[in-house]
Assembly symmetry: C2
Homo-oligomer: 331 residues x 2
């Protein structure tokens, strides 16, 4: 049986469980040229919240009545495709469901022996690619730069900070809670980690970067972005990767009132969407795999079992009640 | 007699006349190596408002008790300098006063026969340089780009739009009032001009750029910046040159709530300060002079006579009650 979560209505604010319709159906049959994929893991990402909204964005919104879009890794269970064999592992946009039938377009095979499956949705997947191109190509870091990362214990932020360390930068992470902060400094090797929930946060940031920052990699938006703008050094780069603090807002998104710091400091604020770097994914994945193998890049996942935990798990992205990459195990 | 306007206290909101102390003194004497300059024109610029504030910016604030900083052009009236002769014309940071004594450092001679003096503070001065480097090097325009300019009838905006036209762009200007809009389309050759004071402005903008914009050159900030962000095309560039709508705010500056359009459209918002391009001023001035000579670049000034009109004239920058470059004639 295939269980699938279909978007029934568009959320306003924090998504309620009633936006989903849980549907079941027999395991679908394949036609000539198709394969049946049984998903093992489903990727849960902040970007999904954006896809639930109506209107123009960098990707089409999920239509009402469609299975919720999500990245997946799984195994080929049946094949009438010339180049994809039963037993092969494969990743693509499988959606929040147990099975997908596809002609293979937009999917690609992965080697389950080289790395654990969850990693193909995390550090070796879109998440890792976002971090890699965001900090290297948009952030344009070089040795000695002072790099500030928000959402630093998250899937993207934790990789961004580690890559910046690898490249010889001083890295300061912002995360929610002392436990995450300890993880950043003790396990991932960040130079400093600041708890934005602490009363002393504004002062902590001041202490942590007395010379200011060369790069701010922002996953969070809101007050943290606005504060970070006051720390820019000349020619600083602000990478706008996400704004998780604002995705569920019921009012207008809060703009950064300190944006004129861009003028004063001749700084740049640039948005990024990882899909633009698709032609270089392979090269990036090879670098990332090398760093993982040498122990220079650590990957952390929070894995929750059971497709029917989808909705509650998804909300952990916004409550912060998880660490690293958030995944649903559905096999 | 030298009349000078000294900053007595820092303004809050729109500057009141009582922030200035009008001082008089005998015409100053020069020592060996110095020259005495009698100013003919004083440049009035929105940036001056920023220099009146305390605190770190791209340039030191004007100290209380100092003559207000301003660009000037004038004539050398006395000289004990080996390389600067009486009767030569010279431009520099003379300030809001009739006379300056200097050793010549930071000043440079101009040829009063090649162009009218006011032009050396306008299109051939900092204003023109800001427009030139802002639209070409920060805006990175190329043929076919759709360029939106705010403050388009102002000193910088009017030059930005004309350069963009010269480079084969479609140019839409935003200005206050029908008269300025007509000037932009009929005299300066803009493709369209929109009156932000009109009730139909939001819709006018929609009509004027149905395909969106590749470059937004912003002199204004506030609501206009926020609206322009909704029109960005992919890889658009937003040049933050100024934010005149916000300079006199008594509350926090309004940040652009639509900044996530940078993410969706992989766009860049970049601040600029003209001083960074000083090593290329000469090259730019030569281009500008050529365009003026060929009639491809028009320069407009609003010239007000009398140094004691300084304060009221300065306020015209914020009321919009002027066109093109605003200058004070003091001789």
């Amino acid at each position: 049986m295939n269980i699938k979560y279909v978007l029934k209505k568009r959320p306003f604010g924090i998504p309620e469980a009633d936006i989903w319709e849980r549907q079941t159906e027999p395991i679908p049959q394949i036609s000539e040229g198709e394969v049946l994929i049984k998903h093992h893991y489903i990727s849960l990402d902040p970007a999904m919240r954006g896809w639930m909204n109506e209107g123009k964005s960098y990707i089409e919104p999920v239509n009402l009545g469609d299975v919720m879009r999500a990245g997946t890794v799984g195994i080929v269970e049946a094949s009438k495709h010339p180049n994809i064999k039963v037993g092969e592992f494969i990743t693509g946009w499988g959606g929040v469901q147990n099975y997908t039938v596809t002609n293979g377009k937009g999917w690609h095979k992965i080697d389950a022996k080289l790395a654990p499956l969850p990693m193909y949705l995390g550090v070796l997947g879109m998440t890792g690619m976002t971090a890699y191109f965001g900090i290297l190509e948009v952030g344009k870091i070089s040795t000695g730069d002072i790099v500030l990362v928000s959402g630093a214990a998250g899937a993207v932020g934790s990789v961004v900070g580690q890559i910046a360390k690898l490249k010889g930068c001083t890295v300061i992470g912002i995360a929610g809670g002392q436990e995450k902060c300890r993880y950043l400094t003790e396990t991932l090797g960040f130079d400093a980690a600041l708890d934005y929930k602490s009363d002393s946060f504004v002062n902590d940031l001041k202490q942590a970067c007395p010379k200011g920052i060369d790069v701010f990699f922002d996953n969070v938006g809101g007050e943290i972005l606005d504060l970070a703008l006051t720390k820019l050094r000349r020619h600083a780069r602000v990478v706008i990767c996400g704004a998780i603090s604002q995705y569920n807002t019921k009012t207008r998104i809060k703009g950064p009132g300190n944006y004129l710091s861009l003028l004063v400091n001749r700084a740049t604020m640039q948005g990024m969407v990882v899909f633009d770097f698709a032609d270089k994914y392979l090269e990036a994945a090879q670098h990332m795999a090398g760093w993982i193998q040498s122990g220079q890049l650590k990957s952390e996942e929070t894995i929750i079992e059971g497709i029917d935990n989808f909705h509650n798990s998804f909300l952990k992205l916004f409550s912060g009640d998880k660490q690293g990459k958030l995944l649903l195990k559905v096999v």
